[in-house]
């Protein structure tokens, strides 16, 4: 049982980095960015391709992050310069990345078993792989939210936040909203790819399919985090995103323990997210129904 819990927490922490990326686009920029489905395996592909060639795993992870940034840049340019709707821009990048990821890895999946990873130094010290992942993933996630907290407090970060909120007002303040959107997409996809690189190293292989449904997983984690741990301050909200990703993995571990077939997981996640997205309207509906019922009774 402890093994399962540790495994879920470790996986959750690695996916939390991806969830922070989704938070930047979905909540801050108000864009549902589907390119993450391609940039997650892109990160894995870059990391695995470099590690199999004997590269330093930290350097490989950094390169994965940069590759993700480039993917975000593509989506950003498609959306702002070519004026393609955000959703479609993301899908285009996602599809393009499928081919690119195959090119990078040279095969649909690549094993890095027994090769050097970012978790290796800790497992060498005798820690179990789950604990090593929790330490590296946790530190990385905390460092990232600190950096993002700082960034979104700067002049530039404020401009990005305002762009997601009221682009017309932002243009009236002399800010190029196109550039702010591109910047947000670059940051977001960079984090998603970094997450993909870490996930691949934790499971010792990269797979071109591993991004399928990742946007839904990201949204589910995001919403769980907001409902359970959300708060007013920005730091608190970033922290909630990380905790949400961990809780999502714990829930998945739980339903699997309870006997759900693993093939049904994506359906389960999709239904959960659909319900969560409907929740605000649902509450409203429930209130009006109750009101009218109350009137009838009176």
């Amino acid at each position: 049982m402890t093994q399962i819990l540790l495994g879920a927490v470790s996986l959750g922490l690695l996916w939390s980095i991806m969830t922070i990326g989704v938070y930047i686009t979905y909540r801050i920029l108000d864009i549902a960015d589907l390119s993450v489905e391609g940039s997650l395996p892109l990160g894995a592909a870059v990391a695995c391709a470099m590690i199999t060639r004997g590269a330093n795993p930290y350097l490989a992870s950094l390169c994965a992050l940069l590759a993700g940034c480039a993917a975000g840049l593509c989506t950003g340019i498609l959306h702002t310069k070519l004026k393609i709707p955000a959703l479609l821009s993301g899908i285009l990048t996602m599809i393009a990345l499928y081919s690119i990821n195959l090119r990078i890895m040279g095969a649909p999946n690549v094993s890095i078993l027994r090769m050097n990873t970012v978790f290796r130094p800790l497992t060498k010290m005798g820690l179990s792989s789950s604990v090593a992942i929790i330490i590296v993933g946790g530190l990385c996630a905390l460092a990232l939210i600190s950096i993002l907290y700082w960034f979104f407090g700067t002049e530039l970060g404020s401009a990005v936040r305002a762009t997601g909120n009221n682009p017309r007002m932002v243009r009236a303040q002399g800010i190029n909203t196109d550039n702010m959107k591109i910047l947000g997409l670059v940051l977001s996809n960079g984090l998603v790819a970094l997450s993909g690189a870490f996930i691949a190293q934790s499971q010792n292989f990269g797979d071109v399919q591993m991004g399928a449904g990742s946007i839904v997983i990201g949204l589910a984690s995001l919403i769980i985090g907001e409902v359970l741990f959300g708060g007013r301050s920005f730091y608190r909200r970033l922290l909630a995103v990380i905790l949400g990703a961990v809780v999502y993995r714990l829930i998945i571990a739980l339903v699997l323990e309870l006997g759900m077939h693993p093939n049904d997981l994506k359906l389960f996640t999709a239904i959960t997210v659909a319900l969560a997205l409907w929740l605000p309207q649902g509450k409203q509906l429930l209130r009006t129904v109750r009101k009218s019922m109350g009137k009838e009774n009176a």
Partner: protein, 263 residues
Amino acid sequence: MLQVEKLTKIFNPGTVNEKKALDCVSLRLAPGDFVTVIGGNGAGKSTLLNSVAGVFAVDGGRILLEGKDVTRLSEHRRASDLGRVFQDPMMGTASDMNIEENLALACRRGQRRTLRWGVTAAERARYKELLRALDLGLEDRLTDKVGLLSGGQRQALTLLMATLKAPKLLLLDEHTAALDPKTAAKVLTLTEKLVSEHRLTTLMVTHNMSDAIRLGNRLIMMHEGKIAVEIAGDEKRSLHKKDLIALFEQSAGGLDSDRMLLS
């Protein structure tokens, strides 16, 4: 200060909905001019303002700001010279951000955004003083989200933001139309105060004839994309609403807007 030459803007060209919103409009504003713009619905008032602000590209003519041709500049590149307040109180501020963050965004209008901290302590003190002068109780709510403010408070804040970094030209687009009469009067008083304090060149669109007559040193009346009437100086000071209606009838051949009759 502002020079508009033969400005033309056609919406939906080549369709049944084609509309010549601006028809060869020319206008000159000297430094310190406060021009009120009045006219019925669809007369081209807002189109004129939005063209100057660069919200869309025009189909003909030129726009010069302090002698510099800005006709081809994008909206955000012109912003350094322009202060803007919109009709919709939601439009001028970012509702999910707090008061000081909104002010800080406006304080850096037209400047490069760097990685310096978004709001400095010195700024915060200055904002507090400026908000106190508004007398709306906002000086103690610097970290409240703007979405919590009333429409009038938001318009007052937007006005403050538009003048925080003195613009070469202040563009007011029916900025009191969405407010109740009492709040509208308050926001207008604040407008007058800020304009005279900073000696701002101002272009103000309004639906209210009395406001158009009372405020500013010049008045223009637009009709079907053209400037129909232009009044300035002493003539404007002695102007009455009925004179204005008469002038309008003379030039346009009758009233065509219910709102003109009602105001």
